[in-house]
């Protein structure tokens, strides 16, 4: 597996665990002695932490290495993805719904304060 992806997944597991415990980065920093900046980088998979640092973070949240075991990823082929899309499209057609209304979606984004200038230009061109 791609190393940066593995770091990202490990960091995500740490973040999910912290959030489930309703702890802030500052809480974990106080308990573990790891700086908030470093914790943030670890949770975002931007650095490759030392084993001892990981253990300190896990101990600070009452966890163990079992909590950061990365599950195997689900991977499908492009042809399966296309098949899945065709099935989904057929179901929507059978339900009587047509294509998604791009104009309504962009109007909704505008009302939410979004900037749709580039998207409108692209839609108009096509």
């Amino acid at each position: 597996m791609n190393a940066s992806l593995l770091l990202y997944q490990t960091g995500s597991l740490l973040r999910v665990r912290r959030e489930e415990l309703r702890l802030t980065l500052a809480d974990v920093s106080r308990r573990s002695g790891v700086t908030i900046a470093q914790l943030s980088r670890i949770e975002n998979g931007l650095v490759d932490p030392r084993y001892s640092t990981l253990v300190r973070i896990l101990e600070a949240t009452g966890g163990s290495l079992d909590d950061i075991v990365v599950e195997p990823l689900r991977e499908i082929s492009l042809s399966d993805a296309l098949h899945r899309r065709d099935i989904g499209r057929a179901k929507i057609e059978r339900s009587g719904l047509g294509e998604s209304d791009v104009g309504a979606r962009l109007g909704h984004q505008d009302r939410q304060g979004g900037d749709t200038t580039a998207e409108r230009a692209r839609v108009d061109a096509t």
Binding site: G88, E93, R105, T117, A118
Partner: protein, 199 residues
């Protein structure tokens, strides 16, 4: 030819299916950005419904200004509203946006070739995202959530979806549970709501 992303951009250029073209563009960006990126939003919805007609490609990940410079070096251009634009030789184009730095949810991989795969938000996390969007109470977001559920409702892991909603802050969670039921009823899948969404 050794420049990261060029092989993927050439594959996108050869492709005629707009959705597959978008996937190759994601692969090109993934080859250039040295950290994981994930396809989310309307283009991910289109992978399941084939009828979304996305207006841009939303990618989440830690993409910084140096990465944008690298993307511009291979041919992307700035295009207002934080978008980057890729223009194909036939004149068509795709807009790319990087709305968040990390993925809110889980992901799967789609293999585009023997050695190239991209990360895409799972349909379960996509449903959670669309249900949360529908809590704004507008028909636009409600219809989009219903459309996705009709397309994938019979193969989605509803226990995982219910668990994901339940793990979120209480106000959003309770609102989302009500909306999840409404969306499922709208999609003719009320039986799923009875099993998985009890307050």
């Amino acid at each position: 030819m050794n420049q990261p992303g060029l092989r993927e951009l050439e594959a996108a250029e050869r492709e005629h299916d707009p959705m597959v073209r978008r996937l190759w563009l994601v692969a090109a960006i993934q080859a250039i950005v040295p950290r994981p990126i994930f396809l989310v939003g309307g283009s991910a919805v289109d992978l399941h419904t084939g009828s979304y007609r996305p207006t841009d490609i939303d990618i989440v990940g830690a993409v910084g200004s140096a990465d944008r410079v690298a993307l511009i070096e291979v041919g992307f251009v700035e295009s207002g509203g934080h978008h980057l634009k890729w223009v194909f030789s036939d004149g068509s184009n795709e807009l790319v946006e990087f709305p968040e730095s990390h993925l809110d949810g889980t992901f799967e991989r789609i293999a585009l070739s023997e050695d190239i795969a991209i990360n895409v938000i799972t349909v379960e996390s996509l449903i959670v995202d669309r249900i949360n969007q529908a809590t704004d109470g507008t028909s636009v977001t409600f219809d989009e959530a219903v459309r996705l559920v009709i397309a994938v409702g019979d193969r989605a892991d509803w226990a995982a979806i219910a668990a994901d909603l339940a793990s979120r802050p209480e106000a959003i969670y309770l609102g989302s549970i009500r909306w999840a039921r409404d969306v499922l009823l709208g999609a003719g899948m009320g039986h799923v709501g009875e099993v998985h969404f009890r307050e």
